[in-house]
């Protein structure tokens, strides 16, 4: 499985006075099993971009190839793509609607035409994967905590057995522990099931901790597409477009300026700690 994005552009309200270029000639390749972070300020076009990856929006220009098939070809089945590329929207818990958690998670696979038995197996597996306690399966999703509801919503997408899961700010509004729980859960899915993960986030600290590669979108353009260290090393440019490096990178910068020969490319607490300990030994 791979996704090739070839020079796509997207225009909102084309031909009207509100016309706006939301995506501007974006190209990239996403390989199976990658863990990618997408960052950009509000309104940069990152949500528009990810909605192209499962065909919710269609580019005005350019092509997207899923498994070497052109998804805009007339004989391409969009439903196939949506089965393989699952999208978890912002505040996905607002989309829960069924009377029990289990029924809610069954909704997706059922819609895709899974048999009853396959639907139920998929729902069980998905709920287990997100680490929700079995005693809760037949309760109302509305009695859960914010973090739990969000895990149910993610399970609803996982139950469709996607190869790629896209999460749009999955931790917004959660307490710190809730954030870690969601992201640890996603990391586990990635590591154990080799699912490709595309994480849209406003938390530079989270992106630094989890992803293998960062795509930075600004004004609809892909401005960086590289390993986290390489992207955050250019934090001055990131700041100009409303972003930043993780706080710990600035700590290392300050230590360096104060005469400590520390690793300025550290982007996680662990790396910073090791670098400082090495120096003090």
């Amino acid at each position: 499985m791979s996704i090739i994005v070839d020079k796509i552009s997207y225009i909102y309200e084309e031909g009207s006075s509100m016309e706006r270029l939301a995506l501007d000639n974006i190209s990239c390749v996403i390989e199976q099993g990658e863990f990618i972070g997408v960052i950009g300020h509000t309104g940069s076009g990152k949500s528009t971009f990810i909605q192209h990856l499962n065909g919710l929006l269609k580019a005005n220009k350019g092509h997207i190839y899923y498994n070497e098939q052109d998804i805009y070809a007339p004989d391409f089945k969009m439903q196939e793509l949506r089965k393989h590329v699952g999208l978890v929207f912002q505040y996905p818990e607002h989309q829960l609607f069924e009377s029990t958690i289990f029924k809610d998670v069954c909704f997706g696979p059922k819609n895709l035409g899974f048999s009853d038995k396959d639907t139920q197996i998929a729902a069980f597996n998905a709920l287990r994967q997100v680490g929700l306690d079995e005693s809760l399966y037949y309760q109302s999703p509305f009695d859960l905590s914010g973090g739990q509801k969000r895990r149910v919503a993610i399970a609803g997408v996982l139950a469709m057995k996607p190869d790629v899961i896209i999460l749009d700010e999955p931790t917004a509004g959660l307490d710190p522990k809730g954030r870690d729980e969601i992201l640890d859960c996603v990391k586990k899915l990635h590591d154990e099931m080799k699912i490709t993960v595309i994480l849209v986030s406003h938390s530079m600290e989270d992106v630094a901790k989890y992803v293998d590669r960062i795509m930075v979108i600004n004004d609809g353009k892909l401005v960086f597409n590289n390993e986290p260290k390489a992207v955050f090393a250019r934090h001055e440019e990131l700041e100009k477009i409303g972003l930043a490096a993780p706080s710990v990178t600035y700590i290392m910068e300050d230590l360096y300026k104060a005469g400590f020969d520390v690793d300025r490319s550290a982007i996680t607490i662990e790396e910073a700690k090791n670098s400082i300990l090495n120096l003090l030994k």
Partner: protein
């Protein structure tokens, strides 16, 4: 007496089953007594469901106590005749700017509050101008709010509250949906309002970095206040905070980890400068 004072404040939700029978009672706020000083920058921390938003909604009488009382600038919120007065004294800003902006032009949006209060037109114009300047959005006064970034929208929402000249503003996770720049903008505006205008700020947040410069911090758990003190005091308790599903700023965490690894650093490091100073002491000892 402080601007906001609660005395044994308790708030109960009644849980009902499908038939409407009472299943039980949940105490969302449980015997909370706090006294907030006028002009302070107060932060409230707590995990999802800890009762902090329920507590905050009592401060501008969106909720009324089941037991105990809430006194806002000398007025008991249970005195429903004075509810408007309470809401003028204590304004509230919520998490999602899109849910609280109704105007089609920035100026109109900001004028909504004072207009509703019956402020004379001339005075409204002045307040709109002043509050937009206070949040650094005057240049956008004729723009449409839906063309603005998240941080800008949230600043417009704050301006709308400022235009009602409250003595106190309560913000319930105002930065949860914002990018780093938007978060920084909103925080800067809050500190300016606090320092220049003397507005009491009550900030509820899940971002520990936003708490560093507060005057005092309260930590909620199970409807109770379980910790209170200066940021330094609060963030000295790394393990307890983690048990409460919270965290500490990255610099505090790094200092804490270094200390655990045997480097003699004091507790409650809150800024990069402090950490640099501490490490210099260790290094050149």
């Amino acid at each position: 007496m402080g601007i906001v004072k609660t005395k044994n404040l308790t708030f109960e939700y009644i849980r009902r089953d499908d038939e409407g029978n009472v299943e039980g009672v949940t105490k969302a706020v449980d015997d909370v007594s706090i006294d907030l000083k006028e002009g302070d920058f107060v932060a409230i921390l707590g995990h999802n469901g800890s009762g902090k938003s329920t507590l905050a909604k009592h401060i501008n009488a969106l909720l009324l106590p089941t037991e105990g009382s809430v006194i806002v600038d000398g007025i008991d919120t249970l005195d429903t005749d004075q509810m408007l007065k309470v809401r003028q004294t204590a304004g509230m800003v919520f998490q999602n700017p899109d849910n609280q902006i109704i105007g089609t032009v920035v100026e109109e949006e900001v004028a909504f509050g004072p207009e509703n209060m019956g402020v004379p037109t001339k005075e409204i114009w002045k307040r709109v101008e002043d509050s937009l300047k206070a949040v650094g959005m005057f240049a956008y006064r004729t723009a449409s709010p839906n063309k603005l970034s998240g941080g800008q929208k949230q600043r417009i929402a704050i301006a709308g509250i400022v235009a009602m000249k409250p003595k106190c503003i309560i913000l319930d996770e105002p930065t949860a949906m914002l990018d780093p720049k938007g978060r920084a903008e909103v925080l800067r505006v809050l500190h300016e309002l606090n320092e220049k205008e003397g507005v009491t700020i009550i900030l509820i947040t899940h971002y520990m970095e936003e708490v560093i410069e507060a005057d005092s911090v309260f930590v909620c758990d199970k409807g109770r206040i379980v910790m209170q003190g200066s940021p330094k005091e609060i963030f000295s308790h790394v393990e307890e905070l983690k048990e409460l599903r919270l965290d500490v700023p990255q610099v505090t965490e790094l200092a804490y980890e270094l200390k655990k690894a045997g480097i003699p650093i004091k507790d409650g490091i809150l800024t990069n400068e402090e950490l640099v100073r501490e490490l210099k002491n260790v290094y050149y000892r």
